[in-house]
Each structure stands twice: as C-alpha cells, then as structure tokens.
Amino acid sequence: GAGVSQSPSNKVTEKGKDVELRCDPISGHTALYWYRQSLGQGLEFLIYFQGNSAPDKSGLPSDRFSAERTGGSVSTLTIQRTQQEDSAVYLCASSRVRTGELFFGEGSRLTVL
C-alpha cells in the first residue's frame, strides 16, 4: 500500500507491561510524527523526526515514553510500565518537508487494563 502503515491496530495489555507500536511511513517522506488521541479528545503531539536531525521530543508525557526511527524510515514508539491513562489511539503521520500536509495512518488502539 502507498499509505502510512501502523501495527498493531489493536493492543490490549496489563498495567505495568511494556508495549511497542510500529509505524511505516510513506516512501520518500522524510518527516515522521506521533500523536495521541484519547477518547473524544483532540490530537496530542508526542514526537517528531526529521531526517538525521535530533528528534523533537517536547510532547512526550513522561520518561516512560520513547521513540526511535531506524534508517530514516520505520519508527517504533515504546511505552514502558503502561498505566491505564495511557489508553488511547496512537497515530503516526508522515510528510514531505514543508508541504504542510500530514498523512496519517489508521492508528494503534491501546487499551491498558
């Protein structure tokens, strides 16, 4: 497919477990973003990657959250010691630099029991 791909689409985990969410951006897009969407809420910025520059981590809510992007393509968002308040849809988006348009994946729905 030509769109942003995210996996898993759904993840149910127990409180205290670690989870990894994966994002495969559109080929040729150098910018990659993670947003979080809680039930009925807006889109909360988490982290941004652009090429080889240092990522903008200003939106990460705590040190339990981390993300990496390997080879300028695939990204993994890791949440350690998950809490119930981490339950949300995690959305990944990619873009060409400076076009303004973000292309979103369908998200990974995380439920922490």
Partner: protein
Amino acid sequence: QQQVKQSPQSLIVQKGGISIINCAYENTAFDYFPWYQQFPGKGPALLIAIRPDVSEKKEGRFTISFNKSAKQFSLHIMDSQPGDSATYFCAVGSSGGYNKLIFGAGTRLAVHP
C-alpha cells in the same frame, strides 16, 4: 496552555444546511491553518488549508474564513450531506522550521437526512 480553541464540541445539521466550526489561536507566529477530517476508525485526512495572506479559501462545498486581527478561522460546509458526518479538527502550524501541527479538540458533526 491551550494554543488552539475549537468550538462547538458537537454539531447537528440537517441535510442541505450550513455547518460552521470555529477555531481561535493565541500565537501570532502561526502561519498555517489546516482543517482535517476524520471518519471513525480512520486517521485524520487534510480537508483544506489556508495561509494568512488571504482571508478566504474555497474548495467545492468547503470554505475557510480567516480573520488575522481576531486570530480566528472557521470552516464552513455548504449544502451539508450525510457523508460529511465526521469529526473535524482545526490545527495551527508554523512554516519556520518544520510542520509541527497543534490540533484543536475536534468537532463531531452529524448531518441528518
């Protein structure tokens, strides 16, 4: 601090009517104002966007009106259709550097036949 305030939270419109959603922002450094449309289970997708050098932009039934002095912009959907039923997000961004977008809380629109 909420950088972009969106209203209303939800909106019900009859088929053929006009849907109006408003957003207000604080930081005058923002110079990119997009609207995204999200259907259930899908990621948001760019609907229409405006930059502050114009006061209005129209694409089909969708129009953005921009008031720079009031720091407000709005989305108008003319001849609203049931297929327009979705959640709409306004966003603000700055072209200086990269495309980090800050989103509003969203408006859930229902168009009744």
